[in-house]
């Protein structure tokens, strides 16, 4: 279900914004418009459809217009043109009082530099949205404590923000955003002012909260790894234009243009790509009643040291490993049914490459990728995994 529908959203800063829009529609670039009119085309004709419960990331470098886009969603910046629809309600047409109401109830926001009120306690900060709504003091405090509990700061209600570290301050910022129970959380580069380890913690916290709370989140970042890590879908912005919208793996697999390709070239692929993108069909599988001799011959011919054995439904029974099969042949065991071992690793289609690498290190047999019922979907041989990690685009493309 579409929660937030954005159409033709455009912002021109400068003395004559309307002229800027006209030039944009004639296809002029940001640079040309600036040189001709002195107007800055910050955001150009952005269309977005953000689904309910989705964590939607808007990514771009500084100057790409990402902060302007998010501020037009709650009209901290007035759009020059375009529409913003939230649950079918036209945000861009609300009067001041209606807009305040929507901001109080439906849209909350988390800021890059936390933007806490230094003269209010942590609890008062977290309760600010409720105070503005006119919620009574006792309930306000109670709900603030609840929100602070979810971010792990329930015991710091009476501290002042400057007594907390940066990471903790942003937790307060997050609690303030959560306390109003708004459907949509706008997050403007919320973790970019934090140092890397804290940033990682906060990303984990957000991912965890999101799986519980299931809010619709619009998340701004300039960090592609962060975008890939958190985003259900990612929108890449450049010079105010949307360049590409898609899931992380889609964008890495299939960059829309040279710009995106360059952008994703240094992303940590192991944390974005999943087993699904690199697994391939096993060259061969055997059944439990296949003869020991045949299996050993096949292993010999293919210089392989193990092969998966499946039942009739395609579920894995075990691995026939070369040494066990050879032993069985010497002992004159006719089928491989009793020679199987379960010394193999399994993964699901959404296991990250980084996790696959850990599995592959311990197991010589290719990793089995299975569905919920344990059926074999494909395998990831170790060499194949290493090739994918080393940024070999052929591997991904082939799979």
């Amino acid at each position: 279900m579409t929660k937030l529908h954005v159409h033709g959203l455009t912002k021109v800063f400068g003395p004559r914004p309307v002229r800027g829009v006209e030039l944009m529609k004639q296809g002029q670039s940001r640079q040309e418009i600036f040189e001709r009119t002195g107007n800055l085309l910050a955001v150009a004709d952005v269309d977005l459809d953000i689904e309910a419960g989705e964590l939607f990331v808007i990514m771009g470098l500084s100057g790409s217009g990402k902060s302007t886009v998010i501020r037009m969603l709650n009209r901290l910046i007035e759009p020059t043109e375009g529409t913003v629809e939230l649950d079918g309600e036209r945000i861009d047409q609300l009067n001041a009082a209606q807009l305040r109401r929507v901001r109080q109830r439906k849209l909350s926001m988390v800021f890059q530099h936390f933007a806490l009120f230094p003269h209010r306690t942590v609890g008062e900060n977290a309760a600010y949205g409720l105070k503005v709504q006119g919620v009574g003091e006792d309930e306000r405090r109670q709900r603030a404590v609840e929100a602070l509990d979810t971010v792990g700061l329930g015991d710091r209600v009476d501290a002042y923000p400057n007594e907390l570290s940066g990471g903790m301050q942003q937790r307060v910022g997050l609690a303030r955003g959560l306390a109003t129970k708004a459907d949509i959380l706008l997050m403007d580069e919320p973790f970019s002012a934090l140092d890397p380890l804290i940033r990682r913690d906060m990303q984990d916290l957000l991912a965890e909260l999101q799986s519980d709370l299931n809010r619709t989140i619009v998340f701004i970042t300039h960090d592609l790894n962060e975008a890939m890590r958190l985003g259900d879908r990612i929108c890449v912005l450049k010079d105010g234009h949307v360049v590409q919208v898609g899931t992380g793996p889609e964008i890495i697999d299939n960059p829309a243009n040279r710009y995106v390709a360059d952008f994703v070239s240094d992303v940590d692929r192991s944390r974005v790509l999943t087993a699904e993108q690199i697994m391939r069909k096993p060259r061969r599988t055997f059944g439990p009643d296949d003869s020991t001799r045949d299996v050993l011959d096949w292993l010999d011919d293919n210089e392989s040291n193990g092969v998966y054995v499946l039942d009739g439904d395609g579920a894995i029974l075990g691995v026939a490993r070369d040494d066990k099969v050879a032993e069985g042949l010497r002992a004159r065991v006719s089928t491989i049914r009793d020679l199987l071992i379960d010394d193999y690793a399994t993964a699901t289609h959404d296991t990250l490459l980084s996790d696959l690498a850990a599995l592959a290190a311990r197991n010589p047999v290719p990793i089995a990728v299975t569905d919920e019922e344990g059926r074999l979907l494909g395998v990831v041989p170790r060499a194949h995994l290493l090739a994918a990690l080393s940024n070999d685009e052929e591997v991904v493309a082939d799979a």
């Binding site: 901290l76 305040r100 909350s108 230094p118 003269h119 503005v132 002042y160």
Partner: protein, 318 residues
């Protein structure tokens, strides 16, 4: 011949004549207004004076010591206050100092009550800000004696012209530092309040004014110092208090009286400065750490404010 007159008209503008004509017109047309203002201000000053001079000296002195202690939370200023105020009392000019304090207090309250709203308005509108700036420059650079002259013309002699000239002379820092304080509040923090749906009034009173507090208090401090210097000058216009002492000393070449009056001004100036400065800093000590806002406004207040050197200025004036 005609060219001669033209040249005279062009190069010999009788601005003074115009000003006098304007003054004539104003005093006759608005005499009721000036009369009302005059009566009102006189009444307020009388109440303030009564409050400060009527109770026993020991009681008021004790209250000042307590005020100093509450403001600074240290023993130094209270001790200083006790010693110096007693010293003033022993010189026999305590009542005069209280009269001067009453004038300063009334002028300050009025200047702040008018100045802060203008500062808020200027902070919200660039156009208002650029309109006010030259007016404030004018108010601060016009020699202070001229205000006294104008005030005497409109309000007669006595305390009222003292208050009115001090009001005009001391208001600019209240406007400027309020505007500065509000403008330097972190933009993102203001956005945060707006993003949660706060009304403009809630943003102002709940976020901008509290965070501009240090800067505004620096402005109030300067208002007080300027008002004190003006009120002493207003002794020339019959405002009484220490100003009257100083004027009498100057006109009769009485060194002893001059030194005594001057010391009274110094004592009062130091007391007022330290107490108001402490109230401006109070935020910082309560939150137990430096915040950006506080640091910035204190340093910028020193740069942006008028040229008052808190201790020397009142003395120089006297």
């Amino acid at each position: 011949m005609r060219e001669h007159y033209l040249a005279q008209a062009l190069f010999d503008l009788p601005v003074g004549d115009y000003a006098e004509a304007a003054e004539d017109w104003l005093t006759t047309t608005f005499s009721w207004l000036f009369g009302t203002i005059s009566d009102l201000v006189a009444w307020i000053v009388e109440q303030a004076e009564w409050l400060l001079t009527e109770p026993p000296v020991l009681l008021t002195l004790a209250l000042f010591v307590v005020l100093a202690a509450v403001a600074t939370r240290s023993w130094k200023l209270p001790a200083f206050t006790a010693v110096t105020f007693y010293f003033v009392y022993a010189m026999g000019i305590y009542i005069e100092m209280m009269e001067t304090l009453a004038l300063v207090a009334v002028a300050t309250v009025l200047a702040v009550a008018i100045g802060i709203p203008f500062g808020v308005w200027a902070a919200r509108s660039d156009r208002v800000s650029s309109t006010l700036k030259p007016i404030l420059d004018f108010m601060q650079t016009m020699p202070s004696f001229i205000y006294l002259l104008l005030a005497v013309v409109f309000f007669g002699i006595g305390r009222v012209p003292g208050v009115m000239s001090a009001l005009i002379f001391s208001m600019p820092p209240a406007v400027r530092l309020t505007e500065l304080g509000i403008r330097q509040v972190d933009h993102e923090v203001v956005e945060a309040a707006e993003a949660f749906g706060a009304r403009p009034r809630e943003v102002l009173t709940g976020v901008q004014l509290p965070l501009a507090r240090a800067s505004i208090m620096a402005g109030v401090n300067q208002v007080i110092m300027l008002a004190l210097s003006m009120v002493v000058i207003a002794g020339l216009g019959g405002a009484g208090g220490l100003g009257a002492l100083v004027v009498r000393a100057v006109t009769s070449m009485n060194i002893g009286l001059g030194i005594e009056g001057g010391l009274g001004v110094v004592v009062l100036a130091i007391f007022l400065d330290r107490v108001t400065a402490a109230f401006g800093r109070e935020n910082r000590s309560r939150r137990g750490g430096d915040t950006q806002v506080d640091e910035q406004s204190t340093t910028q207040a020193e740069d942006a404010g008028s040229d008052v050197d808190e201790q020397t200025r009142p003395v120089a004036a006297s």
